[in-house]
């Protein structure tokens, strides 16, 4: 596998022409060597113990044909939410629909392809790209970085308040020449800016898709970012996501991860609180059916004092599905007066569904308030009987209870069309 991969990398280098030098390419080479020495995670790797994905990917992916994402006029306007009142960007078939970028003209925001940005915003890209996405820690991040070429670059100017959400629509069309996608985002939110970004994965094609996404977000002082991931792709698809968020003083981030479909989905959400008085919220919801497998690994790193983090993840696991949750909270020695909360709750709808949940708090400071809780169980029989005794059918009663279960996450969604879609989807799924 590694030999084939290196061959792909050489082909890639040849295509880079003059840009195969410099800082970025150095990162690529480091990433390739990091991946080559480690390969995909093995089942004995603690971080991937419950999600043994490596072997499956080794078999499924054509390593001789790994291609970087390209600029390309791709059409994809028929995706879910395409008609929402939002700023739309389409990423199709390993290609960004640059047409959609050119048409954007919103004050206070630049949305470019990453490669274009590396020239136009050379300084910013060089100082931030690859700085947060650690290729030594996660082999998927390494593989992504090794072949990074194109992606989405978003820069929100100082003080700009972007009213409309930005939707990054990820999909594929029938001209796809590979089943393996790697996409990359670099999002820089300057001080005092407000922005909402939605990554929407909704395409469902007959061929199984394997995708490996990496995003880096830098949130400036006093900036506010709402960052949504909406994962509703095909039920046979593999989806790996690594997101790295770096927060500066007084900033507020709300990160939402909704997983409604997928064969194996693994999300690594990493938030680093670099300066004081930051607030980080993480809301997660996964509703899994058949033999779907959804794994959320989150890590929030309190590096300094007086920050707040709050995390609520909820899962409904049906059929033979499996949910995995690992929540790390690091409170460094200097991070006094930290407030950190974490909760993971799962409902198992069948005897064959399962959940593995592991809170992992590492606290080196002594004046902090931290708590965590996790529960896994079935629906409450007493509540079910109560509802049924009023004439409500068993299936409606279950739907009501499950809806109530997810409500405190669903109600946190601040975007109406997304809230309504997920709300309706919950009713349709659960009734």
């Amino acid at each position: 596998m590694i030999d084939l991969l290196k061959e792909s990398f050489r082909k890639f280098e040849n295509h880079l022409n003059g840009s195969g030098k410099g800082h970025w390419h150095q990162l690529r080479k480091e990433a390739l060597s990091a991946f080559s020495s480690h390969g995909f995670p093995k089942s004995k790797d603690e971080e991937y113990r419950y999600t043994p994905i490596g072997r499956k990917l080794e078999k499924a992916i054509d390593f001789s044909n790994i291609k970087p994402i390209a600029e390309h006029r791709a059409q994809g306007e028929k995706q879910l939410f395409h008609d929402a009142d939002a700023i739309h960007v389409f990423i199709n078939n390993n290609a960004i629909h640059i047409g959609s970028l050119n048409e954007l003209d919103v004050n206070g925001i630049d949305i470019l392809s990453l490669n274009t940005a590396s020239k136009k915003f050379k300084g910013e890209v060089e100082s931030h790209f690859g700085k947060y996405a650690n290729v030594r820690k996660d082999s998927f991040t390494a593989l992504n970085t090794a072949f990074s070429y194109e992606g989405i670059f978003v820069k929100v100017s100082k003080g700009a308040v972007i009213e409309k959400p930005i939707i990054l629509h990820y999909g594929s069309d029938d001209s796809a020449t590979t089943n393996f996608f790697q996409t990359r985002n670099l999002i820089l939110v300057d001080p005092g800016a407000h922005v909402t970004i939605i990554e929407s994965y909704t395409a469902d094609y007959s061929d199984v898709q394997y995708s490996n996404h990496v995003s880096e977000l830098v949130v400036g002082e006093n900036a506010h970012v709402n960052y949504y991931k909406f994962q509703n792709q095909g039920g046979e698809d593999f989806h790996i996501d690594n997101s790295f968020i770096s927060q500066h003083r007084d900033s507020v981030v709300k990160a939402y991860t909704f997983t409604l479909e997928g064969k194996i989905v693994r999300n690594n959400l990493n938030i680093s609180l670099e300066e004081e008085n930051c607030e980080a919220h993480m809301f997660g919801l996964y509703v899994v059916q058949n033999d779907g497998h959804v794994d959320n690994h989150t890590a929030v790193d309190h590096k300094v004092a007086n920050c707040y983090s709050n995390e609520i993840y909820k899962g409904i696991l049906d059929d033979n599905s499996k949910g995995v949750f690992n929540g790390k909270i690091y409170v460094r020695p200097d991070a006094q007066k930290t407030n950190a909360f974490q909760s993971n709750k799962n409902i198992l709808l069948t005897d064959t569904a399962s959940a593995n949940t592991k809170p992992q708090l590492e606290i080196w400071a002594d004046d902090v308030s931290c708590s965590h809780g996790c529960t896994t169980g079935q629906l409450d029989e007493e509540q079910l009987f109560y509802l049924r005794s009023r004439g409500i059918s068993q299936s409606s009663a279950k739907a009501m209870l499950l809806h109530a279960f997810v409500n405190d996450v669903v109600d946190k969604i601040e975007i109406d069309f997304l809230h309504d879609f997920i709300n309706d989807e919950m009713y349709n799924r659960l009734d």
């Binding site: 409450d380 007493e382 509540q383 009987f385 109560y386 509802l387 049924r388 005794s389 009023r390 004439g391 409500i392 059918s393 068993q394 409606s396 009663a397 009501m400 209870l401 809806h403 109530a404 279960f405 409500n407 405190d408």
Partner: protein, 253 residues
């Protein structure tokens, strides 16, 4: 309306009901009294269809239909209502949505058109006034954080909205102060008609000052051992249950 014949039920292998016989007609109020552990709440639960209990023998006919094989929701749709001894809290389920779903699924079962939002709201307002319940409670999640009295009042409110033919009140009075009990009883009395019937399961006679029963039955060790009119309740209040126990162990006297 309701005919119970030799009803036996057990839970986890332990027999609780040991041959209950009871007949209730439209327009009647029956009180079922008895010491703790005699099977009163079990009887109420079995009638409502709680699945924890195994019915081992006997028949229950409601409006000419055998209901023992019906799911709890279908019994409710046929017109049976159980006011719970301990109504459960269901955070996240709005009272409004809950009741509207219940009303419309019952209507659907009967082949009636669903109530639209306007008519449903009208029904709610009317019944809220009838049972003196505060709109604020209805705006909250179902029973969520309600006091004991508020929960019981909400049971009566649901009963008013769903308009059952047979209401079974399972110790609705327990834990209520006099004012709350009066309001609950008042609600029950207002809902009474010649077409519906009420079974009041209670440990105390006091509720029966407010909801006057036509018949009083004493349940003891899984059987109805004595029946009478409202005076039986007064006698029980005065003498306790011991004389009945004594009477049973020594039938000659």
């Amino acid at each position: 309306m309701l005919k119970i014949k030799d009803l036996c039920a057990e839970i986890e292998g332990q027999q609780i009901l040991k041959g209950i016989n009871l007949e209730v007609h439209a327009g009647e109020v029956h009180a079922i009294m008895g010491p703790n552990g005699s099977g009163k709440s079990t009887l109420a639960s079995v009638l409502a269809g709680r699945e924890d209990y195994d019915v081992t023998a006997g028949e229950v006919e409601f409006l000419g239909k055998d209901i023992m094989d019906l799911a709890p929701e279908d019994r409710a749709r046929e017109g049976i209502f159980l006011a719970f001894q301990y109504p459960v809290e269901i955070p996240g389920v709005s009272s409004n949505n809950f009741l509207r779903t219940a009303v419309n699924q019952i209507r659907e079962y009967k082949g009636e058109e669903p109530l639209d939002a306007v008519h449903f709201l009208k029904l709610m307002r009317e019944k809220m006034a009838l049972v003196e319940i505060d709109q604020k409670l209805i705006n909250r999640s179902l029973n969520d954080g309600f006091s004991g009295g508020e929960k019981k009042r909400n049971e009566i409110f649901q009963m008013a909205v769903l308009q059952p033919k047979l209401a079974i009140l399972d110790e609705t009075d327990s834990g209520l102060d006099i004012d709350a009990m009066r309001i609950v009883a008042n609600g029950v009395n207002k809902l009474k008609s010649k077409d519906n019937a009420t079974i009041v399961v209670t440990h105390y006679q006091r509720l029966l000052d407010y909801i006057v029963p036509d018949f009083v039955h004493v349940l003891y060790d899984g059987q109805i051992v004595k029946s009478g009119d409202k005076n039986l309740a007064l006698e029980l209040e005065e003498k306790g249950y011991d004389w009945i126990k004594a009477e049973l162990s020594n039938p000659i006297s």
